[in-house]
């Protein structure tokens, strides 16, 4: 099947679940900013959960499908767009996204997954280096994407158990574990709400709110950072690093957003706010296992609902 991009939307890129093994070369993990939403979108249309889908930011694209197929859109909700369930598109049919209702990033999967070449072990787009995805860049009007052969088609009437979805909100409490330099900042990270600023991107969500000032300061030796790391530059405004963040950082790390809650941050748009809630490493790991358990139940349930092609 071919999917023609009629209008691309603000920032639409092909993303998968990221690269492994290239951090030491300075190549970020990349991949979907909200991996949970992409995994579910893929499962709903019968794809392996790491298949490449589209990451859609704030405004949706308009797409035309050359053949009939199945589509799922998860994560951010748009007017007129079914969410968290597969729907059928006709040959020659067009898909239009209405106004954004909730969240920031939606993930669209087509049955079969988008067919793009792997680059450095990943199919996701890293535009800063012009690599991966569709020609190493965000989609533009006139692009034509190909999808791989479908592996199955959903049957019957059913819906996903919404209890397994992250508690998306435009003012969430986001759980963090302390960073190496947490002690330098006292209680400042937990003293109020932070607002997401316009300078936010797939590299980092930049926040404004209570200033995080560090007594003394001094230079740090650069070391690895990760998606979820909260760095504090000298101006005191924290940055939550996201999928495309640089691999090394030299700013103090006050805390880290836990993996289970990173989707909540990925769904924040400029103007939304969040507060940080302390948790423990044990709780963070328990939440990862709970998420995997829920996805396991979803996979089991879908095994009966998706007829193999």
């Amino acid at each position: 099947m071919e999917v023609s991009v009629i209008r691309a939307g603000m920032l639409t890129t092909v993303q998968d679940l990221g690269r492994r093994g290239h951090l030491a070369e300075g190549v970020p993990m990349g991949g979907a900013a909200d991996p949970f939403a992409l995994r579910v979108a893929n499962l709903l249309v019968g794809n392996p959960e790491d298949s490449p889908g589209l990451e859609i930011t704030l405004t949706g694209p308009e797409l035309e499908f050359s053949e009939a197929g199945w589509v799922a859109v998860c994560g951010a909700r748009f007017e007129g767009m079914p969410a968290w369930r597969p729907f059928h598109v006709e040959a020659g049919g067009r898909l239009r996204f209405g106004r954004l209702l909730q969240g920031c990033r939606a993930f669209l999967s087509v049955s079969g997954g988008f067919d793009v070449e792997p680059v450095l072990g990943g199919r996701g787009t890293f535009p800063a280096a012009g690599l991966g995805g569709f020609q190493g860049r965000a989609l533009r009007g006139g692009d034509i994407l190909k999808s791989s052969p479908s592996r199955g088609a959903p049957t019957g009437h059913w819906s996903i158990d919404e209890r397994i979805l992250p508690h998306y909100s435009n003012e969430p409490g986001v759980r963090v574990v302390p960073g190496l330099h947490a002690g330098d900042y006292g209680d400042a990270l937990h003293s109020g709400r932070f607002e997401v600023t316009l300078e936010s991107s797939r590299m980092g969500i930049r926040l404004s709110g209570p200033r995080l000032m560090r007594p003394g300061g001094g230079d740090l030796v650069s070391a690895a950072v990760a998606p979820g790391t909260i760095q504090v530059p000298p101006d005191g405004n924290p940055i939550v690093l996201m999928a495309d963040a640089q691999t090394l950082g030299g700013y103090p790390r006050v805390a880290h957003v836990i993996a289970a809650d990173l989707p909540l941050v990925a769904q924040l748009a400029p103007g939304d706010s969040l507060r940080f809630v302390r948790t423990t490493l044990a709780e963070a790991h328990a939440l990862v296992h709970a998420r995997e358990h829920n996805l396991g139940l979803l996979r089991q349930g879908l095994a009966e609902k998706i007829r193999p092609a």
């Binding site: 030491a24 993990m29 690599l131 790991h285």
Partner: protein
């Protein structure tokens, strides 16, 4: 060796406090041992200066076997213990990087030379005369952080970063020097440009340099620079 969590999916092993070749050698030995052991659930390893950061997938550690962080720490400790004492002189590689200094390709050479109290040609010769060691790759794909810059050339970053620095630009920031592999914004003082590609996704490995490599810059003329293209 100090082991600490970096969030819920990585462990940082700190093997020293400073920026020195001996610490880097221990870091590289440890990172190599961790990578070679291919431990279950270990997804990536990043050596940089005095740390080795080991990324893991918590989903792959059964809760019944105990805490994932403790398991990864034990794994990293055992890898490091096995390697300790084994002689290793960085990578043993020296990479020659041709650079055309000054002019349009190195617009900040004048400032760097002025601060050092010397002519541009002398500053370029000083930059070329030193031996550099790659302490880390980061900031951008393939970007080497090089130690060994002669003290006279130490220059703070630009007050206002450039919105566009060309690929191949050789820069100075404080006591560090490095090379921009890709066009990007940047605040380093640009003294020259190399025609070599420091990063190419089509190449294996994609990054020209790895931590532990030694680097020598070699001055080339504008004509030679142009002939590389």
């Amino acid at each position: 060796m100090k082991l600490e969590p970096l969030g819920d999916s990585a462990v940082v092993a700190t093997l020293g406090s400073g920026i020195d070749p001996a610490t880097l050698a221990s870091v590289l030995r440890c990172a190599e041992a961790v990578a070679a052991a291919r431990g279950k659930g270990i997804v990536d390893v990043v050596p940089a200066y005095s740390t080795v950061t080991v990324f893991y997938d918590p989903a792959q550690f059964s809760p019944s076997a105990g805490d994932a962080f403790d398991q990864v720490c034990r794994f990293v400790s055992s890898c490091a213990a096995r390697e300790r004492g084994r002689a290793r002189e960085a990578t043993g590689r020296t990479v020659d990087i041709p650079v055309c200094y000054g002019g349009d390709l190195g617009p900040d050479l004048g400032l760097v030379a002025e601060r050092a109290g010397m002519e541009e040609a002398a500053a370029a010769a000083l930059h070329c005369g030193a031996d550099y060691l790659v302490y880390a790759i980061g900031f951008a794909p393939g970007f080497p952080y090089l130690g060994g810059l002669p003290a006279a050339l130490h220059t703070p970053r630009r007050d206002t970063p450039r919105s566009r620095v060309a690929a191949g630009s050789v820069g100075i920031a404080g006591g560090q020097t490095g090379v921009y592999p890709l066009e990007s914004p940047g605040g380093w003082q640009i003294v020259g440009r190399t025609p070599l590609a420091l990063f190419s996704a089509a190449r294996k490995p994609a990054a020209l340099l790895v931590p532990g490599d030694r680097v020598r810059f070699r001055e080339i003329s504008k004509a030679e620079f142009d002939s590389w293209k």
